[in-house]
Structure formats: C-alpha cells, structure tokens
Symmetry: C2
C-alpha cells in the first residue's frame, strides 16, 4: 500500500516516503525502473501531479534519476554526484576556469580576477617592508592558528566592515577557502555522516565532503535562500553534521538570503544545535546601496563557522583566507589544520597584515567594485536582449556572475560545447547540482575576467548558439521564427 | 593448545600467532590481563624467553601493552597511538617545537632552522625580480600541479644532485611536506586500510594516516633501516596500501638505509606492487664524504612517491615542497590536491624558481652544512662525555639530531619534564613510537637552532637531571657513585 487517503499527510509525501523506504530497504534495487507517472497514477487512483511531485522529491534527494524518453530509475544516494564531471576533460570547469582555457577564448566561465586588477604596487611595498622589518623571522614557522598581528587585523576588519565580532583566538588563518572546507570536513565528518548543502552549490565543497565519505543531500535554492521548510524536515530526518551555504550572491545561483531567512537559519541552528558553514567570498561586491552582511554577523550561537577567501577579490595566487572556529571545535580543527599543512605561509601573512593595516584592502575593494559594477551592467544589458528566447535570470546587483535559465529544451552541456567551438567559455549549470539530471537548462556567465567588448561579443555568440540548438529540434520550440 | 612442539615453526612465533588470533577473534577481550611470563612458561613447559619474545612481538604490533609492576594487557591495534600526546599541553612536541617554547629556553627540541640562517637577501632579490618581471600574473592561480618553469627547475635539480630522473609532468608542487602526506593519504586510504611505518617515526604522518581511519602498523628500525624480514611478513599478512619511510637520517632515529636495504626495498615494492612514500627532508645534510642518495634514485618501478620538504633546510615559513606522482596515481592525487587547497602559492613558486635557477639553493645548502657540521661535532663531543651514565647513541654523520638511548630505568617523559623546569627543551622519544609503552628511554636532541655554547650548557643540564633521576630510585641503578 503506497498511499492511504485517510491520512492527513499529503499523498505525494506519503508516496515519496514509502518509495524511499523501499529503496533504502533494497526492496527496489539500484537500476530498477519505476512505473511511469501515468501508470502509477492510474493504479493508485490519484492525479498525475501527485506522482510527479513524489518523483521530483525523490530525484532531488538522489534516490532516483530520469532518462529523457526512457523513464525513471533507482540509484543509491551518492551514485551520480556531479563530481563525475570533474574527473575528465571537463576538469577545468570544476576549477571555475583555473585550468587554462584557450587564450583566444572569451572567458565567461571564471570568477577569478585578472592580473591588471591586482594591487601589485601596494603589495610589493608591503612585502619589502616586511622583509626589511622582520628579516629572517618572516620565514619562521608561524603559530598554527596564524600570525598574531594578522589575526588582530582580521578581527578589526570583521568588526568594522561586517559587524562580526569574534575574539582573536577564534580566528584560524588558512591557505584559501578550499582549505577551510577541507579542514572542517576532516574535523567533523566520518564516512556515512550526512551534510546538507544548497542545491546547486560549489562543486569543490562537494568533492571535499565526498572525499571523506559523506552522504550529501541538497536543499533546493529559492530566490531568497534555501527552502527552509525542506531544510527543517531534512535536519530532523538526517541529523546532518552541518549545513554548508553561501549567504550573499550564492554560487552559482547569485541569490542572497533575506534577513528573515538569515534569522530563521540561526534559530534552526540553535534549536537543533547544528553547525552552519558559511562560505563567503563575494559579500563585499554589492553594486547597489543595499549593503549585505554575512550570516555570522547575527550569530549568537557560535554555531556558524565563517570562512573567508581572499582569492576572488584580492589575488588567487596568494592562497590566503581565514575562518572563525567555534570554541568547542577549536582543538579538533587545529589538529586538522596541522595534519593538513602545519600552517599557512608566515611571510605572506605578515605582508597581508601590513596591507590591511595600511587600509589598502578597503581601498582595493572600492576600486574593484567600480570596475565590476560597470561590467555587471554591460552583461545585464546584453542578457536583457536575449529574453525573447525564453531565457530568464535574477539580477543579483552584486557578485561576479549571472545565473541564466535557458529554455527547457536546450541542454546546457550542448550549449557549452557549441560555445567552446566558438571560443567562448561558459559553465554548464549541471556541474553545480547534486542531482544533475533534472536541471539541465542553466548556465553561469561571469564577467570578472572580461572586457565590456568581450561581454558583448561573447553573448552574441551565445545567442547564435541558442538559435542553432533550437533549430536542431526541428524548429518546434522556436518561438522567434 | 597455544603451542605444538612438533612443528618446525619457532615456539614464540606459534605463541605469538595463536594469541594474536585469539585477540582478533575477541576470545581475549580488550583490557583483559594476560598470564605473567613465568606462569605461562610453567604452564606451557617452555623457557621464559619464549614467552618474552612472543609478548614482545605482540607489543610491537600493538596487540598488547605492559604496565610496569602490574602486567600485560590486551588492546586493539590502534588503541593507544602516540597521537594522544599531541592533544594537550604537549602539542608543542608534535610540531617539533613549532609552538613557542619559552624564549629563555635552550631549544634542543626543534629541527627547524633559525632566522639568521635564512638566505633573506637572495630571496628578497628573487621576490622583487618576480614582481617586476611578472607583475599581476605572479598572483594568478597557478596550474594545480605547480608553476611550469618551477617544475622544470625542480627536475634539473633532482637530476643533478640526487640522480633522480623523473619527467616534469610527474612533479606536483605542494605546500610543505605535511601536505604531501595528507594528499597521498586522501588519494589512497579508506577507513580500515593498513599502512606500514617505521617504528619510531614522524608523528605528523601518523596523525594524517589516523585521520583517514588507517590501521597503522610499525616495523622496527635497525641501524641500517627497517627490519626487512618483518616488513616482508607484514606485507603478506596485511596487504598494506603503502609503506611510509625516511631513507636518510630517519626521524627520530637518525639511521640511514644501507645500499643493500634500499635495493631490497625496491625489490619488495616490485614483487608485491606496493607504494613506498619516501619522506625526505635531510638528505642534503651529510657531514662526511659519504654522500647519500634518496631511495627514489634507484626506483625503476615508479612505486616510490618521493616527497621533498624545503622547510628544514630552507625556511619553514615558506611552506613549499614537491612530490613525484606515479603515473597511474596522477588523476587521484591531483584531485586530492585540488580538494585540499586548489594549488600552492604561485607567487612563492615563481620566486623559489628564480632562487633555484640562480644557483642560490645549492650555495645555501653548502653554507648551512658547514654551520650544522660544526654544531654536530660539538654535540657529539658533549654526549660522548655522558657515556659513563650508560647512555648510547649512533653517530649519524648527518642530519639535525642525535637519538639518545638512556639507561633503562630513566623515563624520557620524566627527564623531559625535569629539563623543561631547567629551561632546556628536549623531545621524549615516546611520542615517535607507535606503541609507546615499550620504549620509554629514548630522547631526541637537535642542534640546528642552538649555538655551540647552548649545546654545552644544555647537555650539562641534561646530565644533572639524569643524575637526579637515577638518585630518585634509591641509587640502586647508579653506576657512577
């Protein structure tokens, strides 16, 4: 009996729960085909939409997957994570364009800044000043947690700019944001533990969680943040070790959390005593007057672990960032940091410290914000012209990317391949989804590493290929001919 | 029936095997006390020495542990790893003295060099040259595997100085030796996998292996390298994922592998198709004409993964090193590097590359070798005077430490504490052993960070405390009164 119409639980939830149980108990096996929507609806005497909703939920959680024109099949929760994308020739995607994309390409794939944006003169000055001031000491092992004056500068900066107030001894300097994720995973995750993530999310985080054998479950992203109803349910169901999220200009969706949702997240974290990993690399880049703050700024629970990367706004080659460490996790996290790389370069910490103290950092953010805002406006303007093709997007008013929804019949990987042929690099949205099969019509376009002219030209080429892919389906979806 | 006198297998091996079986099958439980040596010998009608040898083997493998004056008890293989030492106030030990040891102390604990040894002038010149030459590009994300010209310089250096010939694309730049260990562990170890290590060994490696849930088994160190007979047996018995070792001036024993043992290791690695992790940070520091080469120099199997740290001879604060990656592991290891920290600082790689190309590195090694050789001779001279107290040590003619065996009744942790009171930092040997309870009378004394005067003064204080600890046992072991 898959459903009971006398219960108050919605039918699709009952159906979802019962099928899930059967999969978990292996009564339905991996690879087995589920009944078609129509057949099952008929059999159970319910509306098609009930089956659709149940299957959708199952798919979101990775229990099943659907193959176009063939049907719906069972898989194990971690079976087909998007990480598979990273293993071969598409590795460049996972890195957000770190791996060399052909030099002639218009690179709308990377969120990394370009060298002419780097504050080389000031940083060189800081480096030389450190060498002259500290001499050999600059190259000693720093404290595992980081160079003390640097941690102090970080605290001052956090307090002044993000309204985050944490004591110096809760700061851990790390070699970039990815290391923060890796260290937390080491400290908290044993094989089989569950982690909740926004869906879609950053694939580098998924790879780190998966490397420790975590079960990864996605929470759908809405325009004002995660679906908290589903989050609440999943916390109770899965007792996750932590929730991984990006508060402002989330990657790849570019969505930011509303104040309400932020407060509610903190409440949930307190209620269930669950850690939240807040990965922040774009908060500073707002292009309107609406200054956004990190979740950490309203955290009174000490459950939010705030990770800050300097790669995206400062310079990626510096490999530097920091995180806040809850008091009760301090020992475990420091141990994990030590087994990972002992400590981050003391020399670069000292130089960055001077850079912060001289106020160069704040000035640098103001400079890049102006440049990026200009490119952002160009990209929005060009994308607006594409709306006639049924594409849509939210205007984030910040960050480095636009998350573009394509017409349903255009597959993002096909578009990616076509654009690549034409020397335009974009990121197919699929690689960000925990369960990639249901979301095949998103792409991420970034504007940080290209000129206004390249944005115009790149989007013109994307338009050409959207048209072409429409045509390949016998014009039947072509709304504009 | 614990033994059968009609079999050709030595009795102590039979006894060892049978007790081990009983422990593994939980017929004898964790914490249970084993019969005393005398009682068991009587019961089995064998010599005491048979029981002693069997218990010794069991203890070496971590199946049992003995408590002085109480008896011998069962434990599970990973129960009491020395890692427990690292978790509290003794954390400074695990770091080889990275954490601040009181400034007035004579630091015979650290193997890190001191700032006045660092080639700051030349490195500053390299840094500035890179900034002027590459400008912003110096701070781009480098390739995950490392900055290409740097990898080229590394290959040249390896070929010229260590007779190691690997192609450039098998080099991976890492953020220090510890990261190399961490990455390999990530790529190769799943919970429950076995790793063989020299016993004693580097505790930072143990921590990394343990963090992935590895079962760690120690192979006793002899003066010319691991006991290969035991190694051979354990490879067959445990099918380990890899062997972790230090070929020259092993830490902490200072022993170096003989040419015969090196060849035999390569043969074993080939025969059983097993990886060897060679952790090298001291090969360059020979103080006699006997130039030692890494194991990798005779590796024709591509099974040896060679990790080189620059921390100990160059500057620890730079956090830089490299490893060679076997072709068949390339994809897995690159993926692990990416989830760990994406890539190592491109800026520092470029500077270090210049430093190598200008020949500064080789010159620097020659300089420090002279300085260290002088300190080495002082320490040997002073320690020779202590031989009247039943202490002994091997003269390594290289490296940065002496591994000192104390009289059996002196506990290294007690001596450590006494010396600490007198402002002398030493490392109690216990922290390096997989099963610490049987080896309590070793200390490691390092001379890299102290002056000749401090060496003399430090050893005078150690002598005073050895005398004191002797006395505390009612003079009964005091050979010199």
């Amino acid at each position: 009996m898959l459903i009971n119409k006398n219960l108050s639980t919605p039918l699709y939830i009952q159906l979802y729960n019962n099928i899930k149980d059967m999969i978990e108990k292996k009564e339905i096996k991996e690879g087995e085909k589920l009944p078609s929507i129509r057949n099952l609806a008929k059999k159970l005497e319910v509306n098609n939409i009930t089956i659709v909703n149940a299957y959708k939920l199952l798919e979101q959680e990775g229990y099943i997957y659907s193959v176009k024109g063939s049907g719906t099949y069972v898989r194990s929760p971690n079976y087909n994570l998007n990480v598979s994308y990273m293993e071969d020739e598409n590795m460049e995607l996972m890195t957000g364009g770190i791996l060399p994309i052909s030099k002639d390409s218009i690179n709308l794939a990377t969120v990394s800044p370009t060298p002419e944006m780097f504050p080389i003169a000031q940083f060189k000055q800081s480096l030389i000043e450190v060498l002259d001031r500290d001499k050999g000491s600059a190259f000693l092992y720093p404290e595992i947690t980081g160079y003390e004056p640097f941690k102090e500068s970080i605290c001052n900066f956090l307090s002044k700019n993000y309204n985050i107030n944490v004591p110096k001894d809760q700061i851990l300097v790390i070699s970039g944001g990815q290391q923060g994720i890796d260290i937390i995973t080491k400290a908290l995750i044993s094989p089989g533990d569950t982690v909740l993530v926004e869906n879609p999310t950053y694939s580098g985080a998924i790879a780190a969680f998966q490397s420790r054998g975590a079960k990864i479950i996605g929470i759908p992203m809405k325009k004002d943040g995660m679906d908290l109803e589903i989050l609440n349910r999943y916390i109770q169901r899965y007792s996750p070790k932590f929730i991984y999220m990006m508060t402002n200009y989330q990657s790849p969706t570019t969505y930011s959390y509303s104040e309400d949702k932020k407060r509610e997240l903190i409440n949930l974290s307190k209620k269930y005593n669950i850690y939240i990993i807040e990965d922040d690399f774009l908060t500073d880049l707002n292009y309107d007057e609406n200054i956004k703050l990190p979740l950490k700024s309203i955290d009174h629970t000490d459950n939010v672990i705030y990770i800050k990367s300097f790669s995206k706004i400062f310079m990626p080659g510096i490999r530097m960032g920091f995180m806040t460490v809850p008091e009760k996790l301090f020992k475990d996290i420091i141990k994990a940091k030590h087994t990972t790389d002992v400590s981050s370069s003391g020399f670069l910490q000292r130089a960055f410290d001077l850079f912060l103290r001289k106020g160069y950092w704040k000035k640098h953010i103001d400079t890049v914000k102006k440049v990026y805002k200009n490119k952002y406006n160009t990209m929005i303007q060009e994308l607006d012209k594409l709306k006639k093709y049924d594409i849509s997007f939210v205007k984030p008013n910040g960050g480095l990317s636009i998350w573009v929804k394509l017409p349903e019949n255009i597959d993002c990987v096909e578009l990616y391949n076509e654009c690549k042929e034409n020397n335009v690099a974009i990121v197919p949205g699929k690689i960000f989804f925990i369960n990639d099969s249901i979301y095949s019509n998103y792409i991420r376009l970034s504007f940080g590493a290209v000129s206004n002219e390249e944005i115009v030209e790149g989007i013109r080429i994307i338009e050409k290929n959207i048209k072409k892919l429409y045509k390949s389906e016998d014009n039947k979806y072509l709304p504009f001919v």
